[in-house]
């Protein structure tokens, strides 16, 4: 997420509402895609988390462009067989990665010292670096997208336990996502009601004041809710230690996938060094 936005035609409210909308929509899409009957959806969450991570590491370690390209091709194949459309990939995974990497990579093509290309200000090294940046960004983004959209979020969290992430952390992560959705809706309603009461666009100063007061109100709500949630947790027996229940069971296809991911990752790491 870039920190630099030119203040284009949209004012604060419009831009923020859009941001909130797309975030909520992403959450919605994640839920439905995870329920389709594709290749990835049928695998155990732990296998997918470990697999995604090993592929990410292979992408990061690679010193050869074609290896990254191969991993990218594999990711596309998995997407297609998991009924995740290329359009969704393009819109959600690639667009952001391309824009951001483009901004960084394009100057690098000209600025990186090295042999010039056909006498132009571009250098061979610059082109290679730019390619590395863009391909790594897009491939990594695709891998994460595949994981997030083929697996229910609660399963991803519980699968983190294989990396010895403490239970309390996993519980906090789960509760956070659940309440992000609530706070997003509350913020959305606050802005919508403000927008509807106004004929003209708000001035920047007014917008800032709205953002600040909304944050203040949300903070109050946050603190109030946390006290209430704590009581609700206690009411059902929570006394400090949290326990998780997971439905994970390795079936033969999961073992096969584990073997496949491990072999592929090792191969890619070896080939890319």
């Amino acid at each position: 997420m870039s920190d630099f936005h030119p203040n284009a035609r949209g004012g604060f409210l419009e831009n923020t509402l859009e941001g909130l909308h797309s975030a909520m929509e992403r959450a919605l899409y994640a839920e439905s895609a995870a329920q389709r009957d594709g290749v990835l959806q049928r695998l155990d969450a732990r296998v997918k988390v470990a697999g995604a991570l090993s592929m990410l590491v292979a992408v990061a370690l690679s010193m050869k462009l074609w290896v990254i390209g191969a991993i990218f091709a594999l990711a596309i194949a998995l997407a297609v067989t998991s009924l995740i459309t290329i359009g969704a990939l393009a819109g959600r995974a690639w667009l952001g990665a391309l824009i951001f990497s483009g901004v960084i990579a394009i100057p690098a093509v000209f600025l990186t010292p090295g042999a010039p290309v056909f006498g132009s200000p571009m250098t061979v090294q610059g082109l290679r670096t730019g390619s590395f940046l863009i391909m790594r960004a897009v491939t990594a983004s695709t891998l994460i997208f595949l994981l997030a959209y083929s697996t229910p979020w609660s399963h991803i969290l519980k699968a983190l336990r294989i990396f010895r992430v403490p239970v309390v952390f996993v519980v906090i992560l789960g509760m956070t996502t659940r309440y992000i959705l609530l706070l997003l809706e509350t913020a959305h309603d606050m802005f919508l009601s403000r927008k509807s009461r106004r004929v003209n666009r708000l001035t920047p100063a007014e917008t800032r004041r709205l953002a600040i007061s909304s944050s203040g109100v949300l903070l109050h709500k946050t603190l109030h809710l946390s006290g209430e949630v704590y009581q609700a947790m206690q009411s059902r027996g929570f006394r400090g230690e949290v326990y998780l229940l997971d439905d994970f069971r390795m079936r033969s296809r999961d073992w096969f996938a584990t073997g496949a991911f491990a072999t592929l990752a090792a191969a890619f790491i070896f080939l890319g060094r």
């Binding site: 920190d3 959600r92 906090i172 600040i212």
Partner: protein, 359 residues
Amino acid sequence: MHIPDGYLSPATCAVAYAAAIPFWRVALGRVKRAMNSRQIPLLSLFAALSFVIMMFNLPLPGGTTGHATGIGLATVVIGPWAAMIAVSVALIVQALFFGDGGVLAIGANCFNMAIAGSLVAYGVYRLVAGRSALGSARRVIAAGAAGYAAINVSALLAAIEFGIQPIFYKDASGAPLYCPYPLSVAIPAMMLGHLTIAGLAELAISAGVVAFLQRSDLSLLRSTAGGVRSHDEAGIQPRPLRSLWASLAVLLVLTPLGILTAGTAWGEWMASDFADPAARREIAAVSFRHAVPAHVPEGLQRLSTVWTAPFARYAPPYIRGALFGYLLSAMFGAGLIVMIFLLLGSFTRSAARLGSDAA
């Protein structure tokens, strides 16, 4: 600045994780002790709040807009350790669930923004606020300064992480494999944007919401207030740890002054200095004109090859600019020492607890 994947080498990411994990563990332990089990809903909800604040596109003077992280605000309301975890959780959810920011880079992002950010914010807040009343304007300024400082330190750390990539990680043809911009480009580029845009956004949120809270619920600012000046405070006030942090920060910045002192400190010569005529003259001059041995003393020769420091002479050749090498060394050195002590502290505390449990 949310660093995506592909800009930092896996080694850098691993080091960042290794740096972040001890802080997370200490923070979780501290928060649990302070709040018992209440920390679970509080941290979750504050993480959600931080996430939502990160989505606000704030218009700033000059016609630009920027995003804040809420680290300054969180630190002032729930303290640095809780803020560290809350903002880390928000960043992790952003990366995993919403695809903003890299996954391998989570360690680095959390270290820069959540961990360093919260500690810096707390130090600056306590330093600037002093013991002023909870509802005073000074507290608002302190909060704003805290947020501003935090985000800029985060940006600096990110810039350093970016800038060292082309030094270490190039392929056979000399093309940088990860971030291609050296420190001389990365630092100004990052700092410009953060000193002006993102820093102001953070300042606005931190100061603005604290001012809002002063009107709506003053007690929310109490937990990080430290000793607010009151009439009936008797007894010895233990020296607040935070002013020590602040002093450390100031000292860090002043370390390049060391370059101004000419020459090498007495006794800190290298084996090669004994062969160099200019160095020999210097050694004699500071040793009351005592005769300098013609050859390198045998013991010195043997031992000098045992350990080669990673940051030789505080300014390894690949870091251009002695000044900058100094500052980096100071930061890493201080950071390393701090981490060691924190780790030791957490171990001794858990050992003490085990001891008292067994008793």
